[in-house]
């Protein structure tokens, strides 16, 4: 049974973010951190009519927007929503955290699914990739430009296909440095203090 599915790309085709019939462009930036979570930023500029329509539905009701996105992304846990609107330029930027965007498979490789068949991925830098998508659901009227930024620690990055022919990222990444270990560093501190004190006493006696 297939149970893990992280369809990063298709999940952003949300009506809450796209309600227009005219040609529109959406920028989606995904920055993956060293433990596989993604910081997602979706931005878009609209014309006056679109802006009015979007504000009426979601722009002036961010809780409805949040709810729609949560419902539209069943494979994720998302939080930390932040909506920045620029009324002067009729644009918005929505950022959110998506947990568990990447996972480690049985062989220890990090995997990130794009949920797109034969995705045309373009490498911008060693760790940054771009993907342009025009979802058929919108009859070609929506262009989505994805920028996927993998962590600096990622290496041996390659694109592959899963069992369903969908494009995936595969890469290796070492464990990030762990949290500060108070006990270990307290021990070191006490050893140094104790040693120094003992040494000082020994020198003073002489």
């Amino acid at each position: 049974m297939k149970t893990i599915k992280i369809p990063l790309l298709a999940l952003f085709l949300l009506n809450a973010l796209f309600i227009f019939a005219q040609q529109s462009k959406q920028n989606i930036n995904m920055k993956i951190d060293s433990i596989g979570n993604a910081k997602v930023t979706i931005s878009m500029t609209m014309n006056a009519s679109q802006w009015q329509q979007w504000n009426g539905s979601y722009g002036n009701n961010p809780s409805a927007l949040k709810r729609e996105i949560e419902r539209g992304m069943p494979a994720f846990f998302v939080d930390d929503f932040k909506l920045d609107k620029d009324d002067m330029n009729r644009s918005f930027a929505l950022s959110l955290n998506a947990y568990g965007a990447c996972r480690i498979d049985k062989r220890g490789k990090w995997i990130m699914n794009t949920d797109q068949k034969d995705a045309q991925l373009t490498a911008l830098t060693k760790h940054k990739y771009m993907l342009v998508s025009s979802p058929p659901e919108y009859g070609g009227s929506l262009q989505q430009i994805y920028t996927i930024e993998l962590p600096e620690a990622a290496h041996q990055i390659k694109t592959d296909k899963d069992a369903f022919g969908k494009s995936t990222f595969e890469f290796k990444m070492d464990q990030p440095s762990g949290p500060f270990n108070y006990m270990r560093w307290s021990g070191v501190f006490l050893i140094v203090i104790g040693g120094a004190w003992f040494g000082k006493n020994a020198v003073t006696r002489k």
Partner: protein
């Protein structure tokens, strides 16, 4: 002595702390944080949707687990499995090769119930158990979680799964509309048998799915109605009550399956709609169920046109007012007209379920086994059909003849809104065939300010390019020139008149039964920016 003892003791404590820091992490039970988001209920009829991660974008699952490694140690081979006693044995959901400190795993569970879940006739409360383990975990370390949920009986249809506190719109209250397709069972052997008998004994042959002619489709629809009428099928209610399941409050409707409607010879509007949709689908037509406030009725679509019938017009002797097929079809068309008007004006209460379209999204029918007793019941019903003649569409060459009880009129061009339609704003004036010299211009709708205009062209052409060339040719005859660009079925352009004035427009094209329909809305270039709002409004309503 004292001067040596204290510093040595401090150093010794330091060594102990240092050593312990390497030992403590190996015992890290309880440092995996688990958060479960669960479904309050499972509908057996929908079991194929729950098992398919791709169905409706993975919206329907049993639970979703968020597991975060809160320890400072990397865990190896983290395995998550679950079971539902009496339904699903221990099943591995995922194995993560490693899980770094702070890393999160998100695991949705799409349970694969056995097919016999569709035989469940009573509801029950069940438990799901989840187990999370990893390499080197002691028995005490293994995390076990469980939660309870309801499995309804196979006939129960819960209208929404949205939590009560989150419901804000009509569509929230009917969030599960697409799942009605699970109750449409064209592959049920009993429904297939019924359909075959209908085609053979009632209609004496039909080919609507092959000819793709609307009149053949309408004939089929009317014959389903006649089959139910002749077998004295009656309209009757079933239990539909509001129920609370944890945070969710929804109307829960008992829906008799199409096979139960056939053999029980009775059905409610939604049940009759599912029966019609099952039979239409089994015969190769595209069934539609129209959902309106407090009611549902069936129909089909063909060549971009929509048709409907009022299936509940059978009523019954106890209710009176048993309508003929013609009357039921007429009523269906009235319903459909209202439906289109409401839907186009953006009324969210008027929705339709295109059964084959949602089937393609993974919402598929439940599995049902053959049943000899039901087949015999079908035989009895078929025997009741032999008394009258099958329904025929009215012959168009005899326009003055009043249709008999077993004839129906296929409306010309069917529903006007079928190929491409749009919402006409209040106060706008519609002119049919405004320019006789341009027969392809079917209608024009003009705003009160006489600036914004919508034009509807029906062009006998095979492609959009050919259609646009035809329009261009007509324009040239009037001394006008047209420039346009297309993107899929969306077009935009500019038309220049002899006097130098220009008209900017945007529109959409779609293949219709007789060629291409083009609907374009625009305004003179000097007023275009000023009228952008209304132009966009009309453009966005073109469907």
């Amino acid at each position: 002595m004292k001067s040596k003892f204290i510093p040595l003791a401090i150093a010794l404590v330091g060594i102990l702390c240092f050593a312990t820091s390497f030992i403590i992490p190996s015992s890290n039970s309880g440092e995996l944080e688990v958060e479960i988001e669960k479904s309050a209920f499972i509908m057996p009829a929908v079991h194929r949707v729950y098992s398919n991660p791709d169905a409706l974008n993975g919206k329907y699952h049993l639970f979703k687990a968020k597991i975060t490694n809160k320890s400072n140690q990397t865990l190896e081979d983290v395995t998550v499995k679950y079971r539902i006693p009496d339904y699903i044995d221990w099943t591995e959901l995922t194995v993560s090769g490693q899980m770094f400190p702070g890393q999160t795993l998100v695991i949705p569970c799409y349970p694969k119930f056995k097919d016999d879940i569709t035989e469940k006739s009573t509801e029950s409360i069940e438990k799901a158990q989840i187990e999370i383990s990893w390499d080197g975990a002691e028995e005490d370390d293994i995390i076990e979680e469980e939660f309870s949920f309801k499995i309804t009986n196979r006939n129960e249809y819960v209208y929404t799964g949205v939590k009560t506190e989150e419901i804000s719109t009509w569509s929230d209250m009917y969030d599960n509309d697409a799942l009605i397709a699970c109750f449409v069972t064209p592959n049920d052997p009993v429904v297939k048998y019924y359909t075959q008998n209908l085609q053979e004994k009632m209609m004496k042959g039909e080919a609507a799915s092959i000819t793709r002619k609307p009149e053949d489709g309408v004939r089929f629809l009317a014959n389903i109605y006649e089959a139910t009428r002749k077998s004295h099928m009656v309209y009757s209610g079933t239990k539909g009550i509001p129920q609370s399941t944890e945070d969710i409050q929804s109307i829960v409707q008992q829906i008799r399956l199409p096979r139960e409607v056939i053999t029980g010879n009775t059905g409610l509007c939604i049940e009759l709609s599912c029966l019609y949709a099952s039979v239409l689908s089994a015969a190769g037509l595209d069934p539609i169920i129209y959902m309106v406030p407090g009611h549902a009725y069936p129909g089909f679509k063909m060549n971009g046109q929509y048709f409907a019938i009022e299936a509940t017009s059978i009523n019954g002797q106890g209710l009176g007012g048993i309508a003929s097929a013609e009357e039921a079809f007429k009523k269906g068309n009235e319903n459909l007209k209202e439906f289109m008007e409401r839907a186009q004006s953006g009324d969210p209460r008027y929705t339709l379920v295109d059964i084959h379209a949602v089937n393609q999204q993974g919402v598929t029918a439940m599995d049902l086994k053959d049943n000899d007793f039901m087949r015999k019941k079908v035989d009895d019903i078929v025997a009741s059909w032999s008394s009258e003649q099958p329904v025929q569409p009215k012959n168009e060459t005899q326009p003055n003849r009043r249709p008999s009880n077993t004839e129906i009129i296929v409306p010309e061009n069917s529903i006007k809104t079928s190929a491409l339609s749009f919402a006409i704003p209040n106060g706008w004036q519609t002119m049919m065939r405004p320019v006789p010299q341009v027969p392809i211009l079917t209608a024009q709708v003009v705003a009160p300010d006489q600036l914004t205009t919508v034009s509807i062209y029906d062009i006998p052409a095979a492609s959009i390019e050919e259609a646009m060339q035809t329009i261009d040719q007509y324009m040239l005859n009037f001394g006008m020139q047209m420039q346009y660009q297309s993107n899929g079925n969306t077009i935009s352009g500019q038309t220049q008149a002899q006097d130098g004035s220009t008209f900017n427009w945007v529109g959409k094209c779609l293949k219709s039964q007789n060629g291409i329909r083009v609907v374009a809305v625009g305004a003179p270039s000097y007023a275009y920016n000023q009228k952008t709002g209304i132009i966009n409004q009309v453009f966005n309503s073109i469907r």
